[in-house]
Symmetry: C2
Subunit: 327 residues, 2 copies
DNA sequence: CTGAAAGCGCTTACAG
DNA sequence: CTGAAAGCGCTTACAG
């Protein structure tokens, strides 16, 4: 903007030095005559002065902002993480800038976010490989990568265990798992949790886990494959909401009533669980807390400190209509 | 970071002046001996130099970034706008920073985004009132405010008209409108479009429009009120997807089969339309294009120029299972 | 082909 | 109580 009002404009108008204006305007407890302070404040107001965050950043080496990289905005799971992170950042008087890096190549992406624009980066998606080159402090969120000891995750294993336990309590003994994509570490943990709970409950293994790919289409396919295999089961744990929806659809299309004939529990909770017929019983995860905790950690721990944290509370079973007593 | 590598570090290592390093590194077509260029590039690489975006911004008065303010991340409509904006920004080599301003008060919000951090602001939500104080160029997106001639919107009227026309073609003559919240200008335009199409088709007015509040709960309530009123109808146009879902649920709960007894069309399209039973027929709107166009305009038109644009193409009817021949 | 200098708008010791 | 000066890391005329 050509007509930007700077500190020197205010200083000139108030007939003081810019340094004094700077101190007064930032509300520092600086000893200054009331008269002078008023003059400065008045002029700043009159001229419509607004501090230049960029210039301040350069001087103080603090961006006053955090970044959050997610794989996509089209997912309520990330929406919840973002909300938590934004609230926590606002608490620190920092802005939260979220991006999916849509349209960016790896290198540009790095340059763009690693140039002093942010004081820290929360990474819930995007290219993991380049992390080593990052100069800005970062933290993996909802994602653990071996060898990178900078992450906060949820208790995915526990979520699966809660899901299994719920079905077991309802009398189910033959439970299948519709998992996530092979590459995702959350998928691995959810599978591990499923297996441990299954074994602990003394349930028979129903063969290799099948992937629902975290999508509706994938969940549907997974369920179709399970049905085709002729395997008998009465309970389903789906690794996330979309795949649960797909599994539900496939089951219904095959004529299996939910929950009379088969019960389904999904990991994660969102409005979509209330929209399908029947409404899905879910395991609600502390996603907002995860986002908030990410910012907290990023802003308090040293950039090179190891952190492998699990945000475990609160988690709860949201009982709806997709689960019932085993037939 | 204490160990930040700066231009002077590279200059020292390559035994040249920083200005030369600056020119070479930015790939400017500067006449420089190949040998020197190689030396500079090598040293920059060796030291792991990364440009400091903030410092560059201060000097060039270009942030290399755009901001996008949305009311919430928990809405696929905004997800699509964001994706379009991000892609368009990347094209310009700019980062796109999206925020919902969660946890910010009005004033801080203003200061935070108006301090040189962004070259322009796309506003799809947040406090409209303060716009006049904004120094950074801005553009309203999916939103028109009287007196603020800086906006890009969709052709909401046409969307409603397409919805009505579709129902009319199927033989429906008694069509109700489940509108959006009273305050929303998109709601007004969709209502206007509904009315104009209704009148053009020679259909009787079925009383005052009812608001579904753009939410599932609101849509359900609206439908319940319509049903209670005893009004007869066979077609429903819902102003958005969630309210359509709510209306659908309420209709089904009242024993009205969809689409045998009542047909429902929703404005906007997203995966949720395929998840409900029956799948919803929708009017797909060019949300991605809207976001992209917002960035295009923001980056090309003068900050004070008037712009009132309608992104009209492409729009299409997505025929699914919630509409059928009038009974 | 390369360098020296000024300056973007701030903040922060250091003086007085 | 207030001011003068240096400097954050760059870029960009201007010299040579």
């Amino acid at each position: 903007m050509s007509d930007r009002v700077t500190l020197v404009d205010v200083a000139r108008a108030a007939e003081v030095d810019v340094s004094l204006v700077s101190r007064v305007l930032r509300g520092q407890q600086v000893k200054v005559r009331d008269e002078t302070r008023t003059r400065i404040l008045d002029q700043a107001q009159r001229l419509g002065y607004r501090p230049h965050a960029i210039a301040r950043s350069l001087k103080t080496a603090k961006a006053g902002a955090f970044g959050l990289v997610i794989p996509t905005f089209d997912n309520p799971v990330f929406a919840q993480i973002i909300m938590g992170a934004e609230a926590a950042a606002a608490q620190l008087n920092c802005v939260m800038m979220t991006t999916s890096g849509e349209g960016w190549s790896r290198n540009n992406w790095l340059e763009a976010l690693d140039g002093g624009r942010v004081d820290g980066l929360l990474i819930a998606g995007g290219p993991t490989l380049e992390l080593a080159n990052l100069r800005v402090p970062y933290l993996l969120v909802n994602r653990a990568v071996p060898g990178i000891d900078r992450s906060v995750v949820l208790d995915d294993e526990k979520a699966s265990r809660m899901a299994v336990d719920h079905l077991v309590e309802l009398g189910h003994r033959r439970i299948v798992f519709v998992g996530g994509p092979a590459g995702a570490d959350t998928a691995n943990r959810r599978l591990a949790g499923f297996e441990s709970a299954r074994i602990r409950a003394g349930l028979e293994s129903l063969g290799d886990p099948v992937s629902g790919n975290y999508t509706v289409a994938g969940g549907r396919l997974a369920m179709q494959r399970i049905l085709t295999s002729g395997m008998t089961f009465t309970g389903v744990v789906a690794a996330n909401l979309p795949s649960a929806v797909g599994a539900l659809q496939a089951a219904q299309e095959a004529g299996l009533h939910v929950p009379e004939r088969v019960s389904i529990v999904a990991i994660h909770d969102a409005e979509i669980a209330e929209i399908v017929q029947p409404r899905l019983t879910t395991i609600q995860m502390p996603l907002t807390q995860l986002g908030a905790r990410g910012i907290e950690l990023l802003s308090t721990i040293p950039p090179s400190a190891e952190v492998n944290e699990v945000v475990g509370q609160p988690m709860r079973l949201v009982l709806r209509d997709s689960t019932g007593t085993a037939p």
